[in-house]
Point group: C2
């Protein structure tokens, strides 16, 4: 398959100076891949020339006159900036001209515009945000939802497991193992919603639709106990930000200790190759690129502060998902689940 990616060239703190070199690197790495560069032509031009993208046989320029800034409200992104690079990139996915799109624009705006333009898949009540986190095995743990849904029902967590399974399979995890984030391994642990979600997931496992491991705990995320960890968006967001905070504190402390006086600096110098190797291994840029799953098209969110390397990682994820036909795979698993039980929304109205 020849994947086409639509790129919001203007998004993020760095704009074209990060996105364009990333596009070039992706094109060089994937001989079949095509890229649609969406943005203000006059702003993009110097970068297009610099990175040999002008006239590139697998590049198409798609003009968009506006840019959604990091501070723009959902309202502005949705109602006012109808010719934004973000929106045009998503529309290319809707129109079938691109298989996935990637933007560093602000999360709220991207989710709102993506939902409005693409709509959710039948059988999916709410889209979710999924990203890989590092684990000790090196394979990465896919976690969702990370903040799109702050009040989930059990059925939503089942849907997240379906979306995660399709996405992780595209990322090379065959028959990926799903863990339910809980506060203990035993079935009786957790609140009512979690226990219900556990039942739905076990049922899907018995039916052979999902590979459900059972409950996992917070520490399992980094152990790689499961390939996919599902949770409601409130819990997922707290876990993600807590991890970011701890990683920042620890790296800050390492830096402080290695710069405490000339002797420590000398020791740091001596240990530099090892420290560099460690830093490369935990480099958060390698995990850049969150998938907005559950929509009728693939949308990827890159961190707003992403540099070219980080943005390229998000593009790699998008490319992988496009090649793995993740949307169709989600639909396939959902259809298999639903031949055995009523539509999920009935569950919602029961609990609502």
């Amino acid at each position: 398959m020849t994947a086409s990616l639509a790129v919001d060239v203007m998004g993020g703190d760095l704009g074209p100076s990060a996105t364009l070199p990333a596009c070039r690197a992706l094109l060089d790495g994937h001989a079949q891949c095509r890229v649609l560069l969406v943005g203000q032509p006059e702003v993009m031009q110097p970068g297009l020339d610099l990175h040999g993208l002008s006239g590139h046989p697998r590049v198409e320029i798609v003009p968009a006159s506006e840019v959604v800034t990091m501070d723009d409200s959902v309202e502005i992104a949705l109602r006012r900036k109808k010719d934004s690079s973000m929106r045009r990139a998503i529309e290319l996915v809707k129109d079938g001209k691109a298989d996935a799109c990637v933007s560093s624009g602000n999360t709220g705006a991207l989710m709102a515009v993506a939902r409005y333009v693409l709509k959710t898949l039948p059988g999916i009540d709410r889209p979710a945000i999924a990203t890989y986190l590092p684990n000790i095995t090196g394979s990465g743990t896919l976690m969702l939802d990370l903040g799109a849904n702050v009040d989930c029902l059990a059925e939503h967590l089942l849907q997240f497991a379906v979306m995660g399974t399709a996405f992780a399979a595209a990322g090379g995890h065959a028959n990926p193992r799903v863990g339910l984030l809980n506060i203990g391994e035993e079935i009786i642990k957790g609140n009512e919603m979690i226990k219900q979600a556990g039942e739905l997931l076990r049922q899907a496992h018995v039916e052979g639709r999902l590979n459900f491991l059972g409950n996992v705990e917070g520490n399992d995320i980094f152990k790689g106990t499961a390939d996919i960890v599902v949770c409601d968006g409130f819990v997922g967001n707290v876990a993600l930000k807590t991890s970011e905070g701890l990683a920042q504190m620890l790296s800050g402390m390492i830096r402080q200790e290695f710069t405490r006086g000339p002797l420590s600096r000398l020791m740091a110098l001596a240990a530099l190759p090892v420290l560099r190797r460690f830093r490369r291994r935990v480099d958060h840029r390698r995990y850049n690129g969150a998938a907005l799953l559950g929509l009728r098209g693939l949308v990827f969110k890159s961190h707003g502060s992403a540099d070219a390397f980080a943005f390229q990682q998000a593009m790699e994820r998008a490319h992988e998902a496009a090649e793995g036909r993740v949307v169709q795979e989600i639909e396939r698993i959902l259809a298999a689940l639903h031949t055995h039980r009523p539509r999920p929304s009935s569950q919602q109205s029961m609990a609502g």
Copy 2:
């Protein structure tokens, strides 16, 4: 004030070989402190002799014939082992013979027995588990609840804030700043329960009862943005275990990198003093000792695998809380809150 601590000498993986040297160190560090050593006399005797605790003027031996093991169910701890060292230690608090008790026994059993023996304070619906986590400022962030309550109402989070304020004040945080764990700083963020909790906390702040900062996010825990972070027990437990998992992964990776071949080992050797300083700073044993707050007496839970140093830290927390008269302080803040509004349980029945 002369604080008396009841110690479950038998609890934890190491039993007397961890608890007794810790008791000795505490006695040496606090010239007024008294310790009541609860356990099987014949098992304790060698350690008592070894650490100079036999006949120590500030030590009392309290015999208990049974031990609650790490695997004992709540049922067994509560109904069958009525003469356990854990239970006897808690009873000493109830009878006013000790100001606080410390146990490394299993959390479920300790919470159940403590609740049964001591009961909750008037105005407190549910006890909570609180512990300090490290932060970059070095002051420690108190976090609660960490898993005692998996389905919280807004009013419970207010109660956690009250308990946390009393405990943090005893730990030297004057007028401690309370943060509400959420997924964004804005008031409109979070689920309904969290938004209601925010309103209750703001009201308590306006009335001058609590020092409420507003919402904090996961990364703020390690930044030290707030002195106290309140959350429901499900979220708190996930955040805590996620942090533990990440810290384990990172330290495992550092170890791997520094032992990858003879050259790396040499570099590790060169950097050893700095690595040791770093390790000391983030040593999780320093943060050992979780408070079970909201009961009519002080109970502290030490990690089951605690060594003597770690157990001593839990005892220091207990000592600090006893000297700070945390139970009375919780009662005082609650009384001040309740002169302005109805009993919290009315809130519960409304939402229930």
